[in-house]
């Protein structure tokens, strides 16, 4: 892309050597006698990583992010951001954070430059420093030639780019992004990915909530999968993929599956999750050899021949689907 973006990346890296975010036994109830939106949640985000928060709708991701941003008070538990306690040091923490909401939070009738200038002022930037940062952010988002166009005339991708760089206007140490690439064109998505990698390289800690598993797999060093207010899996992406690799069986059928085959295979108790797409069958099992044998027997009984079979090929999406309950998958 070749755009000078150095000003945006001169992040003052402080808090080295301790986690960027530490959440311990966090509970959030919106009603005293209601079920908790977050239930004894413990999470540690190391300094200078891209950390993915995954989970189905209603898992508690937005509640968690809102508490980290200081918008909600926890019912119990502790939250430390940049080594500072929330909510006692909420004002100081807010200075460390850059927040990128899921929907572009922009003033439609203002231009891109006016939006950036306003938010820059709200982050206490003034004078030439403000002008520098506004220009750097316009360059970073590659919307410099549209700087004086009203945002209402922007495409969805341009709005998302602007939404991202507004979160960077004050050069935060920790960037929190909520679904930053929903419903945008591939070009804008790639640009946002690239900018996030550059920010990480410059020392920024990034907490990313996303529904796109491939995005999390490509970008994140660590992920936490949430379900029903709890973290069900967390760890390094590579470690998670490696640990799960042998549990997946991939079978290619010699012809299109007959009706009812998927239901019949789903009843095998040796088989965990199962998906049938065209002639490709993917299944998991606690004991893959037993599961494979059971599958082959069932396919034979159904009159379907196996063209090829292999193990492995697990991805984050499968781990995600395995980790959440069947009802939530719907």
């Amino acid at each position: 892309m070749g755009v000078p973006c150095a000003p945006a990346l001169q992040i003052a890296a402080t808090g080295q050597g301790r986690p960027a975010i530490e959440v311990k036994d966090l509970v959030k109830r919106f009603k005293p006698d209601g079920s908790p939106a977050l239930s004894t949640l413990t999470l540690t985000v190391p300094h200078n990583v891209i950390y993915g928060i995954l989970g189905p709708n209603g898992a508690g991701k937005t509640t968690l992010l809102s508490i980290l941003c200081g918008l909600l008070k926890p019912t119990s538990g502790s939250v430390r951001v940049g080594g500072l306690n929330m909510p006692g040091a909420a004002a100081e923490i807010k200075h460390l954070l850059g927040v990128v909401p899921q929907e572009p939070a922009l003033y439609p009738t203002l231009t891109a430059r006016e939006n950036l200038t306003y938010y820059g002022r709200m982050q206490n930037l003034t004078g030439s420093r403000l002008e520098e940062r506004v220009q750097a952010c316009l360059d970073l988002a590659q919307i410099g030639d549209q700087a004086n166009t009203s945002v209402e005339h922007f495409s969805g991708g341009f709005k998302r780019r602007l939404n991202l760089v507004i979160g960077l206007i004050h050069e935060p140490q920790i960037l929190i992004l909520d679904e930053p690439t929903v419903a945008i064109d591939p070009q804008s998505r790639l640009l946002i990915h690239q900018r996030l990698r550059e920010l990480h390289a410059a020392g920024v800690t990034i907490l990313l909530s996303t529904h796109y598993m491939d995005e999390a797999e490509q970008l994140c060093h660590d992920v936490a999968i949430m379900n029903r207010g709890q973290i069900v899996i967390q760890g390094g992406v590579q470690e998670l993929l490696g640990a799960q690799r042998d549990e997946v069986i991939q079978i290619r059928l010699d012809r299109d599956p007959p009706p009812g085959l998927s239901e019949a295979l789903g009843k095998l108790h040796e088989v965990g999750d199962l998906s049938l797409s065209g002639r490709c069958l993917r299944a998991t099992g606690a004991h893959t050899d037993l599961a494979a044998l059971a599958l082959m027997q069932a396919l034979k009984d159904a009159g379907v021949r196996v063209e090829s079979m292999g193990y492995g090929g697990s991805n984050l999406e499968q781990i995600f689907l395995q980790s959440i309950d069947g009802d939530d998958r719907q």
């Binding site: 927040v99 003033y107 009738t109 002022r121």
Partner: protein
């Protein structure tokens, strides 16, 4: 750090908020034109339409048909008295029957008519004779003369009352004159050379004709209330309070767009966010007031309306305008805090403002309300504002006189802003 230092420290962010909201408002030119032009048009139209409904205007008159087959004292006395009344335009129809008169009224040619029966004067004269002769009431042959009034149901009741009062007075005068003439004749015959003519009581007044004295704050200003003096402040206040609709909607749009969420993730104080929005709307309110007053003073007289008399206390007007605007803005911001959607905010604030306006004497002057409604009017901040303006325009009041209304409006504003700030901060 002192509170003042903290406020001054936030001033650059406050200024940026004001600039942002001013730009947003200025770029919606259609809405801006609507805010400024509509109230002025309302004042022009209503002040002209209601011109004759207020005050003691010579032009405030209505036509009355006098249908009579009598040509003598009763008809002459009634017609003369009604013609002398500045509120009544008399048309006389001789020899018109009651059926004809009813037909003309059904056709809409007349809204009210007086029917004087045939021989009314002769009948009245005979009745006076019986009374002067000492005939007891139950033995009198002549009945009282029945002069009737026919009225269209759509005619204003106060017009009917004016005619009935004037007619009663006229008939009373005719009766007095007939009585004096007959008594005079009796005395001439019975006293002979000792007779002295009775004085003409109609020309000799026992009482000074009553005329209302208008009570004002000072003795120098005496301004007759006109429709523009009710309408200009009333519609200024309504326009100010109607700005709560776009104000609350713009706040909720900002919330829906996620901008408030983003601001809350920063260290921006609530008063910077809310104040940034309040200032441009405050300025619009002041422009609304200035334009309505200017049109009422300079344009309305050119169109045949009354000129708005501003009184002698411009500072009191400025104070009232500022307090009313702050009250309206506070109300709009408080509504936007609790409304979930822009549609909810718009419908709630417009309905509430209309109720406050109806209650506060904006849509219907308080003077024509029944006592219960007049006492309920005190609940409406628009009523406080209107009372303040009328203190200056009509009663010659100054800053001291409008202070109670101003304090009331400021307290209402402080309450609304306080609730809004606490809600914004998540405390309530």
């Amino acid at each position: 750090m002192s509170l003042w230092s903290r406020i001054m420290g936030e001033f650059p962010r406050f200024r940026a908020s004001v600039i942002k909201d001013t730009r947003i408002i200025l770029r919606d030119r259609q809405a801006l034109a609507l805010f400024l032009i509509m109230p002025v048009l309302f004042v022009l139209i209503l002040s002209l339409a209601l011109r004759d409904a207020f005050g003691d205007r010579s032009g405030a008159s209505f036509p009355v048909l006098v249908a009579t087959e009598d040509k003598a004292e009763v008809a002459q006395g009634v017609i003369r008295a009604l013609r002398a009344n500045p509120h009544i335009q008399v048309a006389v129809a001789e020899h018109a029957t009651e059926g004809q008169v009813r037909q003309w009224m059904q056709q809409g040619r007349y809204k009210i008519a007086v029917l004087i029966p045939t021989g009314a004067s002769e009948q009245a004269r005979r009745r006076v004779g019986e009374i002067l002769a000492g005939v007891p009431p139950d033995l009198r042959i002549e009945k009282p003369v029945e002069v009737r009034v026919l009225a269209d149901p759509t005619l204003r009741s106060d017009y009917r009352r004016v005619l009935e009062g004037a007619l009663d007075l006229a008939l009373h005068g005719v009766g007095m004159r007939l009585g004096r003439e007959q008594l005079d004749q009796i005395l001439r015959v019975s006293l002979g050379k000792h007779y002295v003519p009775l004085p003409d009581m109609e020309k000799t007044r026992l009482f000074v004709p009553p005329q209302s004295e208008l009570v004002t704050r000072d003795h120098h200003s005496l301004i007759t209330p006109t429709s523009v003096q009710q309408n200009a402040p009333a519609w200024t206040l309504l326009a100010m309070f109607f700005l709560t609709v776009p104000l609350s909607v713009s706040f909720i749009r900002e919330r829906e767009q996620g901008n408030l969420f983003r601001l809350q993730t920063m260290t921006v104080p609530a008063w910077v966010v809310l104040g940034g929005k309040a200032v441009p709307f405050f300025v619009i309110n002041q422009i609304q007031m200035a334009s309505i007053l200017a049109v009422s003073v300079y344009v309305l007289p050119l169109l045949g309306g009354d000129r708005l008399e501003l009184g002698n206390a411009p500072l009191a007007l400025l104070l009232l305008g500022a307090a009313a605007s702050l009250a309206a803005i506070g109300f709009g911001i408080a509504v936007s805090m609790y409304a979930r959607t822009a549609e909810q905010a718009a419908s709630f604030s417009s309905a509430t403002v209309m109720i406050m306006a109806a209650l506060g004497g904006i849509l219907v002057p308080k003077a024509v309300m029944p006592p219960l409604m007049q006492s309920l009017a005190v609940l409406s901040p628009l009523s406080w504002g209107l009372d303040g303006f009328l203190d200056v325009f009509v009663r010659g009041g100054g800053i001291l006189q409008v202070l109670p209304e101003t304090v009331g409006l400021m307290a209402f504003s402080a309450l609304c802003h306080g609730v809004a700030i606490l809600h914004y901060q998540g405390r309530i």
